[in-house]
């Protein structure tokens, strides 16, 4: 999906530098954002937010690579990469997450699918521990 260089294969839509977009941006294919975007972005494909991009929008995509500034929530069906130049001010929801050193994230992070919350029954745990200690003491 994302190569080492900031690029996205077969991007249907490219928002270059010096271009400002305002409104609800919906599309089916891959999207690259290097300019300014205000509103909402939804795609069935992958999205790449470039290092110099400024986005004030909620983003929904299949996968995403974030390099610029985002003020808004990010919801991704699969993987989310947040690179060192990224500044994210909003909540994140994804199934897999990678964050580079230097990235800034201010918001809630929810990992969906496959991440079960562990059931901690404290009393049972304490009883198990006590039984172990007794056995050790008897020996």
């Amino acid at each position: 999906m994302f190569e080492k260089k900031e690029s996205l294969k077969g991007a249907e839509t490219i928002i270059g530098p010096s271009v400002m977009i305002k409104g609800n941006f919906n599309c089916k294919g891959n999207v690259i954002v290097d300019g300014v975007l205000k509103g909402n972005v939804k795609t069935y494909g992958d999205i790449l937010i470039g290092n110099k991009a400024k986005v004030s929008a909620d983003i929904e995509a299949k996968t995403a690579r974030i390099g610029g500034e985002i003020k808004g929530n990010i919801k991704v069906e699969n993987g989310l990469q947040i690179v060192s130049s990224a500044r994210v001010f909003g909540d994140i929801e994804c199934t897999s997450l990678s964050v580079e050193e230097g990235a800034i994230i201010n918001g809630k992070c929810t990992m969906t699918k496959g991440a079960k919350e562990p059931k901690i029954e404290i009393e049972e745990e304490i009883k198990k521990e006590e039984k172990k200690e007794e056995k050790t003491n008897k020996k």
């Binding site: 490219i14 270059g16 530098p17 010096s18 409104g23 941006f25 089916k28």
Partner: protein, 239 residues
């Protein structure tokens, strides 16, 4: 039956030799037909409709890119009932005629031979306001505001070349891009690209160049249309 429509500017003295050359070549190839000369004529549409009623099947635009577009728009209207109507082109443009060149019609000698060879292709048309265009629309002004699919607006903040390309006649396109037009914005920083169904150029009095041939003023609404036209093309067609 062929009908040759000579644009008004071809009445100038400098085109006299060229026109003589064309008419001689058409005679040699047995492609003579009826002639309409714009200038004295007030209503081109009625004149063409009259010829079509009398059996004209091929209308040949003799002039430049704007001549082609003007005649094309009239033929498209009539093509809905008369599917056999075909457009031919003889270019007298002093500069390179983008439309003729793209259709493989490079010079006058070739144009007459191409009419004889009669290689006919059907082209889907894109619509701009009440008219149609074949290939592209260009805008070269800063601070242009474009509304896309009534969903979002784009503003280019720098001087940029804005091009709206009709991809309706391109064959190797993925399904997601068929029946859509493509907007490209090029400036010193890079390039942007957007497929769309409908685009509105919001700015008033902004020059909009159609098929590299002539200008109209904004605002303009651009979208794919259901209309088609048959055109006689050369072997070395580029688009």
């Amino acid at each position: 039956m062929y009908v040759y429509i000579y644009d008004e500017f071809t009445n100038q003295a400098k085109y006299k030799k060229l026109l003589y050359k064309i008419e001689r070549r058409l005679t040699d190839l047995n492609l003579n037909g009826e002639t309409i000369r714009l200038g004295a004529l007030k209503d081109l549409k009625t004149a063409i409709e009259d010829k079509i009623k009398r059996g004209a099947k091929t209308i040949v635009a003799v002039g430049d890119g704007q001549t082609v577009n003007r005649i094309m728009n009239i033929i498209v209207d009539k093509s809905r009932e008369k599917k056999y109507l075909t457009l031919g082109i003889i270019s007298l443009d002093e500069k390179i005629n983008f439309v003729a060149n793209s259709l493989g019609i490079k010079n006058i000698e070739d144009a007459c031979d191409i009419l004889l060879a009669r290689r006919v292709e059907t082209f889907k048309l894109a619509q701009i306001n009440q008219g149609y265009f074949l290939f592209k629309v260009n805008i070269n002004s800063p601070n242009t505001v474009l509304e896309i699919d009534r969903d979002y607006a784009i503003k280019n903040t720098d001087m940029a070349n804005i091009e709206i390309l009709s991809t309706l006649n391109l064959k190797d396109l993925p399904d997601t891009e068929k029946r859509k037009l493509k907007l490209t914005i090029r400036n010193k920083d890079g390039q942007s690209a957007f497929p769309f169904n409908e685009l509105l150029v919001v700015n008033r009095d902004i020059p909009i160049i159609i098929d590299d041939s002539f200008k109209i003023d904004g605002p303009a609404r651009i979208k794919p249309s259901q209309e088609e036209i048959k055109i006689i093309v050369g072997k070395e067609r580029q688009i």
